[in-house]
Symmetry: C2
Subunit: 227 residues, 2 copies
Amino acid sequence: MRSEFETELNNLHIRFSEMAMMVNEAIKKAVTAFITHDQDLAQQVVVDDQKINNREMDLEKKSFEMIALQQPVTSDLRMIMTVLKASSDLERIGDHAVSIARADLRLHEKSTLPDVEKLIQQVSQQVEAMFTQAIESYLQEDDQRAIEIAQQDNDIDRLVQKIKHLCIMDMKNDAQIVENGTSYLSVTNYLERMGDYITNLCEWVVYLKRGKLADLNCRDDQQNRKY
Amino acid sequence: MRSEFETELNNLHIRFSEMAMMVNEAIKKAVTAFITHDQDLAQQVVVDDQKINNREMDLEKKSFEMIALQQPVTSDLRMIMTVLKASSDLERIGDHAVSIARADLRLHEKSTLPDVEKLIQQVSQQVEAMFTQAIESYLQEDDQRAIEIAQQDNDIDRLVQKIKHLCIMDMKNDAQIVENGTSYLSVTNYLERMGDYITNLCEWVVYLKRGKLADLNCRDDQQNRKY
């Protein structure tokens, strides 16, 4: 028979996974809204973010209670700590989805940049894929896979640089697209930052499994630490 | 006589405060480097960030150990939880100081925007002041003051909007400043985001004192929650 504590721990795990799904949905919707210029969908992302914020506070509250009342040790404590810290990363990814949605709402339909949009779609697909895989590695407690997934952030960063360069060139050539161009740049920056937070999620999978804190957030231009 | 646990808790508190001072230094240096176009100072911020990241990992490790081995309760546990969560916010503020420093390093001296620079200096002074006050409220465990400090984020957001508008107008009028203009916009965005993280720090001061999680991150256009 399951103890009450085991049931609570399992509930915490389920509620964290649900939060991850809510954030995944927010990313998809925000990017789709940006590409299809769907302002209603963008507005939905902004409104739904409150649910993500509430879930983070709910997970924090539950984690604190479990630590205070049950005084868990070793792997159980690690599980709670992972939820506690990784939920902040999820919440921030959700915040960035909202920032993308707000950029959608500011966009003027008349002067869009189709080539830049295509690349933004490409990088957002990379971000979505990395996010899904990071959550899978959490569910499977697969630390080795999490370390590999974190490397994808370098590909995202490279594509981001390419988009920024193209966008600035376009803006230099046509003053009419400067305003929209800054929105495209912002969205690109938010996607880049999401990649960093997903890397943090991968670090928490490593902690969950090994009980050791890892720094997987290495830039291409820095020496890579080996794991 | 102080127990070993009390000494450890006090050390944790001191090491967190030191981390706050390191981050404060990073903000000041990054903004000074941006305003004075001092590339050496900007480079220093990038290099010094590793110390901030190491300190965060060190605080996480120590917090986990203290919870696992000492099983603290009530206010002691709250103190450890605050350090654990607020250190992530500090680390992210440090990351944004690095992003400002990297924007400094990309800036071409020839086509700067003096008017925008003045406003950026003004908003950065607001961010620095808000940060210093938030840390003071933590040291004094003054939850009421923390709630008041969080309101300053609205002033920051308003000034940020003004800067963005001015910057885009300048970029539309002169293609030569488009590239630098995007750096100015990025720096403005980073300062805006710092304000959000400082608001989070204020929330942790409320938690430390009241044991309740607060959401102080209200936008002007949202209904304010009362505390």
